[in-house]
Amino acid sequence: MTTDVALPTAVSQQFPSATPRTSLDCPAFNIPAGDARALLKHLRDTLGYDFLMDLTAIDWSAGQSPRFTVVWHLYSSTKHTYVRIAAHCATDAEPAMPTATGLWAGADWHEREVYDMFGIKFTGHPDLRRILMWDAYPYFPLRKEFPLAGLPTEMSDADINAETGVGVIAAPMAGGPFVATPGEPMSEAEPRAKDETWNEQREKPE
């Protein structure tokens, strides 16, 4: 991957508020939330970063401040280089960020996903609804305090809930979590039951 060596000076000249961000690959910048949209527009129109690769967020866990960070990955289809922009959400309880849908139409669903998983509201988004979970789902599953197994709640359809009497339950975790283990051969690293010393009948040893 080639690196855009002129980029840091080009960004810091236009945006003194942008600071370099630790990065192992491409150039990366921190920017105050208020300047984020202007910087993205500048990168797209002037510096040739015309493609929004990804838009995601980080939850630094409850108690941290700033708690939520939104991250944009941009790609230049002319220079074939990447850049990463990160901006902290101003408030931790009601995180919000200006939308990038006016710059890239593709930001629409990315921002809906970030809203769905983290509860970050993108101000100015034309249609900010949940995209993966159903509309009435009460939690934001990728926040740090949310358990992998989930929390009990109701399913979306009131008729079916009344008929079946079944709701969302916390998933049983005996033998789990069923995640891949890093650093092993592929055949060993596959998701599978791991700690089987405890189950529904036998308590988990502490």
Binding site: M133, F146, L148, G150, D159, V168, A171, M173
Partner: protein, 170 residues
Amino acid sequence: MVTANPELAYNSKIEGDVTVTRADAAINWLRTNSMWPMPMGLACCAIELMASAASRFDIARFGAEVMRFSPRQSDCMIVAGTVTYKMAPVVRRIYDQMAAPKWVIAMGACASSGGMYRSYATLQGVDRILPVDVYVSGCPPRPEALLDALMKLQTKVRTERSWKKNFSAA
């Protein structure tokens, strides 16, 4: 040269135009051999379901090749794949729309138990919302396993008391 053997066939000249059987036997015979599936293909198991329908495995040998995408015309829902909590009410509603008699095959680990998806988004086994007749293990099961499940379901249907269940007042 093969010639028809009239002695083994039903001879209407001797026995008349009447045959006698049990109602259950006749009804179950019809039901077992034309069990039209409702393909509830939700994940990768649906690919194996498609393979079962194709020429190598040929589910038509068991009279279940007519995949009906309308629940009104189908008899057996094959839940093939991961059922999310978002999809679960839809699966149940489609099951409710199927005309009785109806059966359910839970195909694969996810439909049977949630599989490896022990997470907030996945229904932990479709038997929480549907009465499942046959569970198929595998991730995904091979088409032979699905055919075996279908044959097990046919065996089950063959022994049902269909007349008593559906046509008598009691």
